[in-house]
Structure formats: C-alpha cells, structure tokens
C-alpha cells in the first residue's frame, strides 16, 4: 500500500494485488480528472461527498473499529464549521489553513471533553449520551443568536487557499468546482491515508480487540477506557476537518448541521457503505450524497425515500454496499 489512493481504498479480501492496484489507480484517475469530464454541479456534488466521506470514516473509527455507535458527531462537524465562520467574522482571516487549524483544534477539545464523559459507557447509554451532549452544542448555536446568528447562521465566504499562491479566484462557482475540489480531494486523501494507518497500527488492532472482547483486551493489559478515549478524540478531530471543508461549500454555517438528525445521516452513510470495511464509509458517503441530492430534486418526500432505503438496508444488507460486494466477489471467485 504505497500510493495514497491505494491506501485509501483498501483491498477487498481475495483480490489479487495487481487487480486491486489497477482498480484503485482507475478510481484515482477518475477522481483527479473529474472536473474535466463532469459539470461544475457534479464536481461540487462530489466535493460534498468527499467531505462527508471524511466524517463517515471518522464515525467508523468508533463504530466499525471500536464498537461504539455515536449519535452525536454533528457537534464536531458543526462546531468546526462555526469555528471557520467565527475566524472570518471576528478575526477577519480568510485563510483556509487557519480554518483547518481551528477545526482540528475545536474537534480535539470538544471530543476530549465529551469523550472523557462518554467512554465510561458502552452501547445504548453511550449512544444516548453522545446525542444529549451534541444537543448542548445545537441549543447554544440556536439560542445565542447574537454570537452565532441563530437560525440565520453566519456567512462563510470563499477562503484563500494556500495563502493565495495560485492567485485570486474570479468566479465563485469555477473556484468551487476546480481549485476547491482539488483542495478537498487532497485533504480527503491525506485524512484517508492517516486513518488507514491508524486502523492498521498496533493501536488500531487494540481497538478491534476491545470491540470484540473487552474483558480479554483488559486481561492482556490494554487500558480499555484510555484507548476508547483516544479513538474518540481522533474521530472528533477528523470530523472537525470535514466540518471546516464543508463550510465554504455551503457558504453558511447554520444550526442544522449541529442538529442530531445530521448525526443520524452520518451514521446512515457509514452503515450504508458498510461499517465492517475501511472503504465502506467512503462509498456510503458519496452514494448517500448522490442519493439525497437525487431524492431532494425529485420529490419533496425525500426523507421517506431515504428512510425506506435505510430500513431495507438494516433488514437485508446489514453489511452495507461493501459487504454485499465482498460476498458477491467471493462467490464469483469461488474461494477455497
């Protein structure tokens, strides 16, 4: 696993390495060439998908790898988005890198505090606790309107990338569909590689051990609570990065992205793509984004469509898209 794109994809079990590399190279080429073959609208849509993919990977760090289902990730996403907006509004800085630093920091701090409280519990209590704590963030954003703009939100203007090294952008749409897309792609790749390395590390293995058998993990000397907390903080940090990337795309930081159903959407993406694999959440996020855009565009009852998809998914395809793909793959190769 040398190239970042290859690392980001992971291998489906049983695939010959050469085929896997070819497959990944194809996807990488597609991603890099996308703005030239698709419309601006499509490219911006994919940008959204990649941003959500970072958040979904972060959610899965906790869900798939540590066995903790968080229904409160909206707070890390939203707080970072608002952080970017605050940096513009109060510090008058529009550097994207400043946004990212702020987002990373906010994700780290909030996740450290919330995580310290939450990792003492598992399963249902953990999930409800994450939900309740994230709602604190939402209610503050909603009510302290003189700071946060309330339901109107705060504007996030076009940021300056890499200190303006490529010159000032002229048209906003062109900017978003081109330069900003590549920026997002780059950050996504870096985040995906980092998270891949984390789950492949001894620490990542210990998380899976804790997920599978907490008592056994403890009995070989793993400090369970500390490992969970660490995973929680990492997850919050990456989700914060996603929130920062999202803000300029949306142009606005609003309370919706702190509201708990958005946490549900992040979980939806992760589960739909398949939370038992590394690349599942990426596929789920991109697919969910397209599905939602399609649904919203076609019918006002898009929540019904998404809800039915989700219910069917849970009943019939609990391993998500990647799970079904792997099973299909195994059957056609007739593995021994």
């Amino acid at each position: 696993m040398n190239t970042p794109a290859a690392a980001a994809r992971g291998t489906a079990s049983g695939t010959a390495p050469a085929a896997a590399y070819a497959y990944v190279a194809l996807v990488a080429a597609l991603l890099v060439g996308f703005p030239y073959i698709a419309s601006s609208y499509q490219t911006i849509l994919l940008s959204y998908g990649l941003v959500m993919a970072i958040a979904a990977l972060a959610v899965n760090l906790l869900l798939g790898y540590t066995g903790l289902l968080s229904f409160g990730h909206s707070v890390y996403f939203g707080a970072a988005a608002y952080g970017a907006a605050f940096v513009v509004k109060y510090l008058h800085v529009v550097s994207m890198e400043a946004f990212l630093a702020g987002g990373l920091l906010s994700g780290l701090v909030i996740a450290a505090v919330f995580g310290f409280i939450c990792v003492r519990y598992t399963k249902i209590f953990f999930s409800i606790l994450t939900l309740a704590l994230s709602q604190v963030g939402w209610s503050l954003a909603l009510k302290l309107f003189w700071v946060t703009g309330g339901t109107d939100g705060i504007r996030v203007p076009t940021p300056v990338l890499l200190g303006g090294v490529f010159g000032a952008p002229d048209d906003k749409v062109v900017f978003l569909a081109h330069r900003y897309y590549y920026y997002v792609l780059a950050v996504f790749t870096v985040c995906a590689v980092l998270m891949w390395r984390i789950v492949q590390s001894p620490f990542g293995k210990s998380l899976q051990a804790i997920r599978d058998n907490e008592v056994r993990a403890e009995s070989i000397g793993i400090r369970v609570r500390r490992a969970r907390w660490f995973a929680f903080v990492l997850s919050g940090m990456f989700t914060g990065i996603a929130g920062v990337l999202w803000a300029p795309l949306n142009g606005l930081a609003t309370p919706d992205v702190l509201y708990w159903p958005f946490s549900g959407e992040l979980v939806f993406m992760t589960v739909m793509g398949g939370f038992h694999s590394f690349s599942g959440p990426i596929i789920g996020a991109v697919a969910f984004n397209y599905l939602k855009s399609y649904a919203v565009g076609r019918t006002e009852y898009w929540q019904l469509l998404l809800g039915v998809v989700f219910v069917v998914l849970v009943l019939v395809l609990p391993d998500g898209i990647m799970g079904a793909w792997t099973r299909l793959h195994r059957r056609t190769r007739r593995e021994g």
Binding site: L63, L69, F71, I117, R120, Y121, K123, I124, F125, S127, I128, L129, L131, A132, L133, Q135, V136, S139, L140, L142, K143, L144, Y259, W260, P261, G264, V267, F268, V271, E300, Y301, W302, Q303, L304, L306, G307, V308, V309, F310, V311, L313, V314, L315, P318
Partner: protein, 291 residues
C-alpha cells in the same frame, strides 16, 4: 402571586405531557430493551391524527365534544405500533443492540414524510377545542380549563398504567418478561405477544401525548424530533424502564423548564441536556431506577 399560580400550573401541565411521552419510551425500553428513536414521530403522528379528525368532525359537533377524539387518535398510533413491531423490530432482536437504533432512525425519517404526505406541510391547529373550555379561576388566577383537563388526563393515565402494570395478570407477565425474557418463555409466557402489546401501549401513550398537546400548541412537522430529545432527558433523569422514574423525571424537567423560561431562556435547552449528561455520568441507572 397570580403568575406563581399560573407558572405552577404550567409546570404541572408540562409534567403531565412529558410523563405521557416519556413514559411510553421508558415502558418500551423496560420491557423490550429497545430505544425507539422514532418515538417522537409517533407522538407527532398522534398530534396530526387528532387535528385531522378534529378538522373533519368540527362542522358536525360542538367544539368541546371533540375531546372524545383524544383516545381515538391515541388508538390509531397504538395500531401503527402494533404493525411496526412484528414487521420491523422483531427481526432485529437476535442482532446487536445498535441495529435497533439504526432501524428506528430509518422509521423516524419515514414517519416524518408520511405525516407530511397525509396532512400536508403546513402547521395545523385545533385551538377551537382548547378555547371551547374557557377558563377557570384558581385561587384568584384565570387558567385555561383545557389545560387542567390535560393535567387530569396525565394523572389518570399514570394511575391506570400503574394499576395495569402492578395489579393485573398481564402486568405480571410484562414485568416478568422485562426482568428475564428466557425465564418468562420457560414459564410459558408468550413473549412475542407481550412485546407487541408493550410496544403498542408505548405508542398509545406517545399518541395520546400528541393528541392532548395539539389544541394547546398545534401540530407542526419536526415537533417529533424536538420532543424526542426532551423525552430522552426525562427518561435518563428518571431512569430508563421505570414508570415512577418517568413521572419524577417529567416533574423535574417541567420545573427546570418553567424556571429557565422565566429567568434564562437562552440556556433553557442547554441546561436540560447538561443535566441529562450529568445524571448519565453520576447515576447511569437514573435517579429513581429500581435496579
């Protein structure tokens, strides 16, 4: 002085309402160990069912008589619940707990749009029912009679439920199943029917909460999602699975809300969520739980 009486009565009103909605959630968890994220939208379904039926019946009957529709709306939601449990929840009992959260989240989305499909996207009101009852003078203050009726309904439901769970044969089966499902099965209890019924009762309470609140504040899309987190706060404070806890939790939350709205409205919600988090951290079983 008059505001004190009005505020106290408001707190009681909120207690009744919160008990109805949180009690159902707690009951379902207590018996089936299921946390129903769609519970809030079942409450919303009750609200819209009530307002829809009231709208249809209004030309034919005097406004006050519409109150008879309250149990009908609750029943509608109970029937929906009785259909949901065997079809969508039963297949998940063998699986990890997290799947029920996922499934009920999907249900939440479905119910949100089904409600929009049936009753339209605009908020609906049944305030004629509310105003038809006029006001009563309590200790020198005027207070809407309908609100007092709601308080009475809440108390009555609490009493009926208590009697049902602790005095009837079915209640015994309910408690046995909630304590030890396998043993209950071994004793010949039909756990499947206990589950359906428990879920239906939980939905009945949610539907009743919605029906009862609609003359006061109307029915609007999204009210379910808002109410759910509040119900969680109540149930977390009082203890998941405990009816007395739901009542006590409802009272505490109602009082905090009433105080907060008067003194620091911006932090009202934040304070509640923090209290919930605090309780989860110090006494995860809730303040009043039995275990």
């Amino acid at each position: 002085m008059s505001t004190l009486i009005v505020q106290s009565l408001n707190a009681l009103l909120n207690t009744a309402f919160l008990f109805l909605i949180a009690g159902g959630l707690s009951l379902v968890y207590g018996v089936m160990r299921i946390v129903n994220l769609a519970h809030g939208n079942l409450y919303m379904l009750g609200a819209f069912a009530m307002v829809g039926m009231a709208g249809l019946a209004a030309p034919a009957v005097p406004a006050a008589a519409l109150i008879a529709l309250l149990p009908v709306a609750a029943l509608v939601v109970a029937l929906v619940g009785a259909a949901i449990e065997p079809a969508l929840l039963r297949p998940l009992y063998a699986r990890a707990e997290e799947y029920q959260l996922l499934m009920t989240f999907g249900l939440l989305l479905i119910l949100e749009d089904v409600t929009k499909l049936v009753w339209g996207p605009t908020p609906l009101s049944a305030s004629t029912l509310w105003s038809a009852f006029g006001t009563l003078t309590i200790l020198g203050s005027d207070y809407p009679t309908y609100n007092l009726l709601v308080i009475a309904i809440g108390l009555m439901t609490a009493a009926l439920l208590w009697a049902f769970v602790y005095r009837t044969r079915f209640g015994v089966m309910l408690r046995a199943t909630s304590q030890n499902r396998r043993m209950a099965q071994a004793l010949g209890i039909n756990v499947q029917s206990v589950y359906v019924l428990a879920f239906a009762i939980g939905c009945l309470m949610a539907g009743l909460a919605g029906a009862v609140i609609v003359p006061i504040q109307g029915a609007v899309l999204g009210m379910g999602v808002d109410a759910l987190v509040l119900a969680f706060v109540v149930v977390v404070i009082g203890g998941l699975g405990s009816l007395e806890g739901a009542l006590a939790g409802a009272f505490i939350v109602a009082v905090v809300r009433t105080l907060a709205i008067t003194f620091f409205p911006e932090l009202e919600l934040a304070v509640l969520y923090l209290i919930a988090a605090l309780v989860l951290v110090t006494r995860p079983a809730g303040l009043f739980s039995r275990s």
